[in-house]
């Protein structure tokens, strides 16, 4: 294996070391804040319709070299400011000097993404569908957990906290996710179960979230076969800043007196203090959070502390490093199901005190080295340590997991119109758990991404990833995942894209070895599980217009997609009701999504609407449909209408999800076939005031007290009221 890695590395260096020489021009300049004239660090400046670009250093300077002579548009973009474009810049042998005076706009929609092709790229030039959650969405939701925002993003959903991108994951008891979560590009999945830990995401310190919805494993490997979510945390501000944010609220008592289970309504609060500052050319922030909730049901309570910090070291204009760390400790109720349909918010008799205590520690670091203007090396590493212990009537499981991650990535512009990114990735995990046993896992991967612009408006991407997995030092699988994609920009603001890619996912240790019981759930191991593979197709388009009559920042997006899975791993109860993870031979998810986002009357109003349709089916070898896949919504709609005038804001949100057609985990009464699944209709309202240093937001979620189950025998959230106060010093 080591021999192959050496050969592969040598090949990458030879390929990426290729230099194309010609008479080229250079571009340099500065990016400054239009109000206080301070330099802006980390702004992305790039030559439109090429792969040439640069980021500003701590003095706001940028330099782009080796540009082929011609006339270009130069784009400058950074979070918190409006994107600026300078057109008709003639590049020749004479160096050009530019200055961008950026106007502040804390609600600007991010337009540069980094996740889809592992490098900064205009979202319209991305060959894959990417949804971006910006600061506006997170602030309006006043979310403590990022999972509160996700159901309002087209093509994205959660089933009891489990991330579903285009229905890929369904619900697997948290044992394996087909959607990968990254924080600043470093995987954040638990090493044993492969489930997502929303609790350790510092929601208030997120710059943006990028969700690559196109399926496949070529970019990020096994866990990313159903899509990738990358959380990009913000850097510290130039001036020292301390923010105190307090969110307090309560849950309504159930609308029906029969369901009342406590004397007074449940209460919750989250208190956060963040301080950020620069020190010399470096900057950093630290954040402390305390979250306490009684929960809307008897075992939904939580008591948690979270400490997060990030330091960015700008060593020189060619070298910077980032260190990020998070420590989270929690005590939570251990919910499995309701007492009965007659008492949906109460715990099963005798389970009232079931709870779990644990901690999570996550640290990652990255080093960016600009060897030449067109040659960048990124080195990333991460460490993940999780420990928890259940204290339940029927369950006393515990687990300790440690995971290490390292990645080296080389990105080289072969010419103005072609780019090669390649790298090596390594993950090591060590698990010692009562419910899994003692196991270790390793994965080694090499990846390569090649992008070529055939014409200024058409680009082609060829990607591939080779990955080798070992569990307990025995090779579980060795897979190559190729991907091919096209992006065409026929006119300004219009993008069409198509892609086809193979994906794969090896079973997690939890899916292979779990032996556990929680209340009525009994899970037995299945060490014979095989890897699942997928072949995904997508065709999509985007129309963006900065201004059209009364509309502004208008974005219309659509996509058609189809993923064919082989050996899909799903939790299935056997004839004795015992759950095993099993390979379903063939399954197909076909779908479509359409979304519209627009400002109305110069952003006085902002309207978003998203519709996602899924047809998730199990098929036989001849392609005939034999069943529906469980835990997928066939129809999903999310809309928001918000209003902003001066410092005031207000809005209405509505979310609809059709009734889940098939469930697996709970056995229904065979005589009555009693079932509480219903479609989901949720309305939320919010209003508030925002000044530069003060903010107050009042929200009512589930205002009409709609009762539903996401997972059978588990009610959805009750109506809740909250007020969030934020003060910056």
């Amino acid at each position: 294996m080591v021999r192959y890695i050496h050969k592969f590395t040598a090949l990458l260096l030879i390929i990426t070391g290729t230099i194309f020489g010609q008479d080229r021009g250079n571009l340099q300049g500065t990016v400054i804040d239009s109000i206080n004239r301070n330099p802006i660090t980390g702004a992305n400046v790039y030559v439109q319709h090429t792969f040439l670009g640069s980021a500003t250093d701590t003095l706001g300077n940028f330099s782009i070299e080796n540009i082929r002579p011609g006339t270009y548009s130069i784009v400058c973009s950074v979070i918190g400011y409006r994107k600026e474009v300078i057109h008709n810049i003639k590049i020749n042998k004479t160096p050009i000097n530019l200055q961008f005076d950026l106007k502040r706009d804390i609600l600007a929609i991010p337009q540069v993404v980094v996740t889809a092709t592992r490098k900064e790229q205009d979202i319209l030039e991305s060959p894959f569908s990417v949804a971006v959650i910006g600061p506006r969405e997170i602030r309006e939701k006043s979310a403590v957990r990022l999972s509160e925002v996700l159901p309002y993003i087209p093509g994205v959903n959660t089933v009891r906290g489990q991330l579903n991108i285009r229905g890929a994951s369904g619900y697997t008891l948290g044992a394996g996710s087909r959607s990968l979560l990254l924080i600043d590009g470093v995987p954040l999945l638990g090493s044993a179960a492969g489930n997502i830990s929303w609790t350790i995401v510092p929601t208030s310190e997120i710059e943006r979230v990028e969700i690559v919805k196109s399926a496949g494993g070529a970019l990020y490997g096994s866990s990313g076969m159903g899509g990738v979510m990358n959380i990009i945390t913000r850097n510290a501000p130039l001036e020292p800043k301390t923010t105190i944010r307090i969110k307090v609220g309560g849950y309504s008592q159930p609308h029906y007196s029969q369901w009342k289970w406590r004397a007074s309504p449940g209460y919750f609060h989250a208190v956060e203090i963040t301080h950020g500052r620069t020190f010399g050319t470096h900057n950093g922030w630290i954040r402390m959070q305390k979250y306490l909730t009684d929960g809307y049901s008897q075992l939904d309570w939580e008591d948690a502390y979270n400490l997060t910090g990030k330091v960015k070291l700008n060593i020189n204009s060619k070298l910077n490093a980032t260190i990020y760390g998070n420590y989270y400790t929690e005590e939570v109720g251990l919910a499995s199901q309701w007492k009965s349909a007659a008492d949906p918010f109460e715990a099963p008799l005798g389970d009232d005190n079931d709870h779990s205590i644990g901690y999570k520690f996550h640290a990652n670091g990255s080093l960016n080295i600009i060897l030449a203007p067109d040659l960048i090396i990124k080195i990333k590493s991460g460490y993940f340590d999780v420990k928890w212990q259940n204290y339940g009537r029927t369950n006393q499981d515990d687990s300790r997991e440690k995971k290490g991650f390292a990645e080296v990535q080389i990105s080289k512009n072969l010419s103005d119109v072609s780019n090669l990114t390649s790298g090596l990735s390594l993950q090591l995990a060590d698990i010692n758990a009562q419910l899994f046993g003692k196991h270790s896992s390793q994965s080694y991967a090499g990846f390569i991404l090649f992008q070529q612009k055939l014409w200024s408006s058409l680009s082609v991407s060829l990607n591939g990833r080779m990955e080798n997995f070992l569990v307990d030092n025995i090779s579980l699988d060795r897979t190559f995942a190729p991907q091919f994609a096209l992006n065409w920009n026929p006119a300004a603001g219009i993008a069409l894209r198509a892609s086809i890619g193979k994906g794969f996912r090896v079973p997690t240790i939890a899916e292979l070895y779990t032996r556990s019981q929680l209340n009525i759930f009994r899970v037995e191991p299945n060490p014979t599980l095989r890897s699942e593979t997928s072949l995904a197709y997508e065709f999509g388009g985007t129309l963006r217009s900065p201004q059209y009559r009364l509309l502004s920042n208008f974005v219309l997006e659509g996509a058609l997609f189809r993923t064919h899975f082989k050996n899909l791993i799903e939790p299935l109860p056997d004839e004795n009701g015992i759950i095993h993870f099993e390979n379903i031979t063939n399954a197909v998810i076909t779908g479509a999504e359409l979304s519209l986002t627009t400002g109305i009357f110069s952003e006085l109003f902002r309207f978003t609407a998203a519709y996602t349709w899924l047809d998730p089916v199990q098929i036989n070898s001849s392609g005939s449909v034999i069943d529906t896949l469980s835990y997928r919504y066939r129809h999903h709609i999310a809309t928001t209408l918000s209003y902003r005038w001066m410092v005031a804001l207000a809005g209405v949100e509505y979310r609809y999800a059709s009734r889940i057609e098939k469930v697996e985990l709970f056995q229904m009464n065979p005589v009555t076939k009693a079932d509480k699944r219903v479609p989901i209709h949720i309305w939320n309202v919010f209003f508030g005031l925002q000044w530069p240093r003060w903010e107050v937001l009042f929200r009512v979620d589930n205002i009409f007290q709609y009762y539903y189950v996401e997972l059978e025998r588990n009610p959805g959230e009750e109506r809740k009221f909250s007020i969030t106060l934020s003060k910056t010093f």
Binding site: A341, A342, L349, N669, W683
Partner: protein, 152 residues
């Protein structure tokens, strides 16, 4: 913004609110049924694998398959007490405790064939007098009905 603009804004807002708030559904609602504690003061006999309550439409025990409305989650042999709940539409019912002489999972998986078989793998654990007293279930109400089950 001119008056036309204001009117358009108000119009869009109203249309949006009307569309989204018309005929607001309420989701699932309270149900009617019976719940309580099943207690087993005596030792379990060897031939009984599990016990449950069954709800019958009338007292004709010989035609169980025609009379059976529902049954509670079976309680495994050896259990001292267990909570049960059964959803029922409003009406009058007879409730009796039964013992399963086969595994409860096997029974649930093959209930249709078991109920029509000449020899149903059930033993009635209550006397006829207990069964004869019907319980009345009212709309959106849960009747509390604790039962002690004695193995004979």
């Amino acid at each position: 913004m001119n008056s036309l603009g204001i009117r358009i804004v108000i119009g869009i807002t109203l249309i949006y609110l009307i569309i989204t708030t018309c005929s607001i559904p309420t989701g699932f609602k309270p149900i009617s049924g019976v719940e309580g504690m099943l207690t087993f003061p005596n030792p379990w006999p060897d031939h009984i694998h599990a016990a449950a309550l069954v709800v019958l439409e009338d007292l004709e025990l010989e035609e169980l398959s025609n009379n059976l409305i529902t049954y509670s989650d079976p309680v495994e042999a050896g259990t001292d007490s267990a909570y049960y709940f059964m959803q029922l539409i409003p009406g009058r019912y007879h409730i009796t405790a039964v013992g399963l002489t086969v595994s409860p999972v096997l029974f649930a998986a093959n209930i249709d064939s078991f109920l029509t078989a000449p020899q149903v793998p059930l033993v009635i654990l209550d006397d006829l007098q207990t069964i004869a007293n019907p319980i009345v279930i009212q709309s959106e109400k849960i009747r509390i009905y604790d039962r002690q089950v004695f193995f004979r």
